[in-house]
Symmetry: C2
Subunit: 338 residues, 2 copies
């Protein structure tokens, strides 16, 4: 392989001069600089990443810790992942994708071995076992998902509380007075999926304030159970005129459920979901929905992380950013039948 020594020889300068000419960390005469660059070009020199990491303690790599839990909606993960990898690359970083079940062990292993400059944690739970390790790690981290105690950490998430409130508000404005909310399965809640209860609590509170009745349910995260669930919920509350979905599988199953019941949306039922626009397009989901903002969250997390790696030191205080709900209107909400 071609090393900086080869470049230096070819350019007729010392290795340090070659290095400085490339990094620009001290002034180099134009002629010398040109000779070095020429040598780099003709030899096809690229610095050895391991050697550079050893010398500088910087890897230019970020770790992305996914949590691919059973009964959670895996395909949605790709949006977050691409947001992270693409933005990282734009900022000059590569991304190590970690999918191990034991995220805490993975974080420790990777942190201790100094493979990366920082961590992005996806799908952060209420009491996430990765957080204590992250706090004591020498590398900074950014979270996608709001944990119970975010103190000192940079956190990015959709404002699920405001999302629940917004959904109720929107339907109330149109005249709806009785709603059904279908959330993720209960065990998602049990393992700390705070977004489930944050959206639900926001919806309930707002419903209380407005005098709207709301019935909340946990739905299965896969077929065919979620289809049966939806029938059951709709049977139980035949007077409900609006349906809120915080469950991707429910959104995917709903069209055929509606057909089976001889219902159409929004005529017989107004529907608001919470999922990504990309998801909606791919699967032709015809429901208005609050966008998950997956890619944006991934990008924002990386930006903050890189900021902290490169400049921030302990300078910047912890950053908590909850993205406000934005509705993609696909025409599935309207005033209820008189």
């Amino acid at each position: 392989m071609v090393t900086i020594g080869d470049v230096a020889s070819a350019a007729g300068v010392s290795r340090s001069t070659a290095s400085y000419a490339l990094s620009g960390k001290r002034t180099i005469s134009p002629e010398v600089r040109a000779k070095v660059l020429l040598a780099v070009e003709s030899l096809g020199y690229t610095p050895n990443a391991g050697a550079r990491a050893l010398a500088t303690s910087q890897t230019r790599v970020l770790a992305l810790l996914g949590q691919f839990l059973p009964d959670e909606f895996a395909p949605a993960m790709l949006q977050y992942i691409l947001g992270v990898t693409n933005r990282a690359r734009e900022l000059g970083y590569d991304t190590l994708l970690v999918s191990e079940d034991d995220g805490a062990a993975a974080l420790k292993r990777i942190s201790d071995s100094r493979m990366v400059d920082g961590f992005v944690l996806l799908n952060v739970a209420e009491h996430d076992t990765r957080l204590p390790l992250l706090r004591s790690a020498p590398q900074p981290g950014a979270l996608v998902g709001l944990p119970g105690s975010p103190d000192g950490l940079d956190v990015f998430d959709l404002d699920f509380d405001a999302t629940g409130s917004f959904m109720v508000d929107t339907l109330h404005d149109l005249g709806h007075r009785e709603l059904i909310l279908v959330s993720q399965p209960e065990h998602v809640v049990e393992r700390g999926g705070a977004y489930v209860w944050r959206l639900r609590d926001g919806a309930k509170r707002r419903a209380d304030e407005l005098g709207v009745r709301i019935h909340t349910f946990f739905g299965s995260s896969s077929q065919p159970q979620i289809g049966a669930d939806l029938h059951r919920f709709l049977d139980a509350h035949p007077d409900a005129t609006g349906l809120l979905l915080n469950n991707e599988a429910a959104a995917a199953a709903l069209p055929s459920v509606l057909v089976a019941r001889g219902m159409t949306s929004p005529e017989d039922l107004s529907v608001i979901g919470r999922y990504s626009d990309d998801f909606a397009r791919t699967f032709s989901l015809p429901f208005s929905a609050v966008d998950s903002a997956a890619e944006e969250l991934g990008r924002r997390a990386v930006e903050q992380l890189v900021h902290r790696i490169e400049g921030g030191h302990a300078a910047t205080p912890a950053h908590l950013e909850l993205i406000a709900p934005v509705l993609d209107d696909r025409g599935s909400i309207a005033a209820p039948r008189p």
Copy 2:
């Protein structure tokens, strides 16, 4: 950070002895070994990845080069990715996920900087611009997707030709004599998506042999166009009794198209798709389908790659593995109406 020097001091031995005690590359007396392990434990020592990479020229990292093309089905990618990352971890490797548009440039950059020990290429095209670079790279690679000239490279893919042939066979056995095949959009073909024509050609050949009429179309990869496409294809050939889908968006759109036409499957139309089981479950697609084998292909590619990295040298000859089609029967195929 704690280094092997700290471990050596704590154990009262030299750094080389500490290193050998950990690697097992030469015999160490049980007592010394115990002292070293104790020191490692109490100090919490983990080797520095950069230093090790520099010394050994091995990173224990694989690069995964995705190609996230517009108009291709992104969510399906996650299956391949998880197959790769999980199997890599089992074999002791971490995975660098690369999503840059210019895969060739990325490959060169990562190869030259010696960041990884090998490459997995996803979504390989007929004339993939990454292949020349991979061939001249010092690190080995494994492909998921069959290119026009696979010479010398390890390749894993679904046997799309056999899949097309199998689909026709299956419906012919049930008595079908006129079929429609809906493929990915034509520009997927134009940019070298060989799996499109491999399946189609396999289907056509077998149809010819069996005296079955088959009408082949390109369909859009997104809504709402693909819905309109499907109506058009079905209108054009009202006597066709079987539908073959090599297009995920078509599979997702078909249920509502059938409802709109007042048709049911398999009574009015037998349907066979090609997509992953996971995909079918998540979106409750009720169609029998040949499994994409995404996760398996990812895993197999990694296994072969690691084999080549660790033992194979130039030893093992190139490996070409086309996985035979396996049908997940979801009850959407039957004999045509008499």
